[in-house]
Symmetry: C2
Subunit: 415 residues, 2 copies
């Protein structure tokens, strides 16, 4: 970096809401996103909810000229929906699956099927050299999406989202040790003051581009789900007249670099110069200044440690609540499976008895008897499946709780 000691990096982040057959005016919007990205030529584009590989291919074909490097993260039944376009080479990618992602039987929510949204890490935008600098710099940007929140008052998914926030934070800590700059963009499905986002920021030291930006332009309070957007569900936003902020660009410098957010923008209900929005979410666009410092700064945690202890303790308590709920569900599904099995055994004994001629005549009608047996088999299978699922859930929640306990001990033991 002898020549020019500063790099200006323009980042675009958007939850595209591009679900085939379900999202309104999908193809039109994807075309619009592609046109805008081609015109604006950002350095790095992080997209979520591009569920169809066809849409990704279309975007890739359109953007090949200005974003020669791109990656689509494949996973799960439908895919992860995550993709990245970049002006700089993508040297390597790594996928990390969340261990918990909702419940398969909550069909109406569907997160479980959506490929367990991954945290993805693109290592080494080595293209810093290509940006006119003398030093190739490692910069792992992550694109991610956490479990959606469906009901804020009684949020059954909070423990799962906390496990995901913790795993994401751990993943960033472990993979970014040798990086110069860490960048994370995505729909985190958490409000800025939520325990999950405080945990993620505190445990990784990531800074919030919205809070740090010198200039801001866009929706009030930086909201990214606003009533002004024609695709948002107005009823869900009733308690929040301004909207909510759940899409973020977070960053930090690790070694001898500094990062500053010069400008942050969001779209405001419609795409710039258009009459429809890109998506039901607003796009977040940040201009970052990355500069080499004289001496190494050393890794630092973003939050003062006593506060961090409080945040981790709060998160651990919530995970504990989720753990006890999961243990109760494991117990009740196990009990239901045992009851169904007992009923089946009883029926088998009765049927054998009737066959052996112990009972006088035909004691029960054949049809109801068979229907009852089918019902018992169905309940047995279902309850066993759920029992196994909740057993896994209990294990993962226990594992996270223990990791948090270990983290707290390490924080408290530090001089």
């Amino acid at each position: 970096m002898e020549g020019d000691p500063t790099l200006r990096l323009r980042v675009f982040d958007l939850n595209c809401w591009a679900i085939r057959y379900l999202s309104k005016r999908r193809q039109e919007r994807v075309r619009l996103i592609g046109d805008t990205l081609r015109r604006e030529s950002f350095d790095l584009v992080l997209l979520q909810e591009v569920w169809s590989e066809r849409d990704y291919s279309d975007l890739k074909a359109k953007l090949g000229g200005c974003y020669p490097f791109s990656h689509y993260f494949r996973s799960g039944v439908i895919g992860s929906g995550l993709c990245v376009f970049s002006r700089f080479p993508i040297l390597d990618t790594l996928l990390y699956q969340y261990s918990l992602n909702g419940y398969p039987y909550m069909l109406q929510h569907g997160d479980w099927f959506c490929g367990k949204p991954q945290r993805d890490c693109l290592e080494g935008l080595g293209g810093f050299a290509g940006a006119g600098m003398g030093v190739t710099t490692t910069l792992p940007p992550c694109s991610c999406q956490l479990h959606a929140e469906y009901c804020r008052e009684k949020d059954a998914y909070l423990p799962h989202r906390l496990v995901q926030a913790w795993e994401l934070a751990q993943f960033i800590r472990h993979t970014s040790k040798a990086a110069d700059v860490v960048l994370l963009g995505g729909d985190l499905n958490m409000h800025p003051e939520d325990v999950g986002i405080r945990l993620l920021r505190g445990w990784t030291g990531l800074r919030d581009a919205f809070a740090e930006a010198t200039r801001f332009e866009g929706c009030e309070d930086g909201c990214t789900l606003v009533p002004n957007n024609c695709f948002t569900v107005k009823a869900e936003l009733l308690p929040f007249p301004l909207g909510i902020r759940i899409d973020y660009i977070l960053y930090k410098a690790i070694s001898s670099f500094t990062v500053k957010c010069e400008e942050l923008k969001t779209t405001t209900g419609t795409a710039p110069g258009m009459d429809i929005p890109f998506s039901d979410h607003e796009a977040v666009m940040a201009t970052l200044h990355i500069q080499r410092q004289g001496q190494a700064a050393g890794a630092n945690l973003g939050t003062a440690e006593p506060t961090l202890v409080d945040v981790v303790t709060e998160a651990r308590t919530e995970v504990g609540v989720g753990l006890r709920a999961a243990q109760r569900q494991r117990y009740s599904t196990g009990r239901m499976a045992v009851l169904a099995l007992l009923l089946l055994l009883l029926q088998a004994v009765a049927a054998l008895g009737a066959l052996a001629g112990l009972a006088a005549g035909q004691p029960f009608p054949k049809l109801s008897f068979s229907l009852l047996a089918f019902l018992a088999i169905g309940v047995l299978l279902l309850a066993t499946g759920l029992h196994l699922f909740h057993t896994m859930e209990v294990k993962m929640l226990q594992g996270t709780e223990e990791q948090m306990r270990m983290a707290l001990r390490a924080l408290q033991e530090r001089p």
Copy 2:
């Protein structure tokens, strides 16, 4: 490291084969393992297949005095079976689930249920300071287990194991950048010359303690599954009169350190001084010398790059073979689901016709009609489930193939 520039690290690795109700003489063997570990006092103990948390707790209670730090990795329905005991503090842990791990319907093999054996990373045995050295050193040892090989001639799991080997290698590359020494111990379920182990070693630069050891003592060729062990299945070892080597201790130094394997030992069919073995696998014990060098050595790949290109190409070809097999299975299960659905529809039409009195009299017996409907529903459900599973399999294999393609391009473009 001003005082003593050398650290001698004694590592113990064993696949314990401790499956409740299934493994022979389990409790006796776990007791024996605990006694030996307490007597020998290694620095680091990596255990696999400790499937019962109760066994882990017993070991922990027994070993607390000489190994004050330990961790059990929870995951899946049964657990990961992996645990670690250490003389030095364990500062942090990270779990990474393999994206593919066999087939849920291969009940007789069971890998799928065994918590998707994880690659686990224990970051920072900061206790180097505790070993009398002036510098705290990061050393992430991994304990892992890959998918078992059930038939060498027609190994249907090879692509899955290659995906796992690749993911493990990627995980090590991404998490070890800031480490001084990387250590990996476990049952890799691969012979030393297999493409998966060549890929893992080539892509990470890890060295094989058996090949590098100055002194070796134990089974011929370092085998860890030997006919001499009373618990091994002799028929499986018929083509290998000496046995096979599938348990490894691998290591590398990254920054300004060097690691040398001074001594490697295996048990030889029985536990030292006993008449029964620890397990059906032999234990592997390495004594490593870790030394600080004057200048930084820089990360190096273990294999010369032209060879590495060949290895990655070979692995990619195998993954491609697996991909095409998965695509065929996805197609045939999809077709079966459609056929079952058609049959159901046909029956519905026939039933409605009969109800509307279109057919003269009762055209088919009720019982066979209902049985056929139940059969069709069963096939529909099963085929749909399998179709979804193979869809995920296809996505993961495609993702790995693409990552390998990207790696090959990067290797070939290097000056």
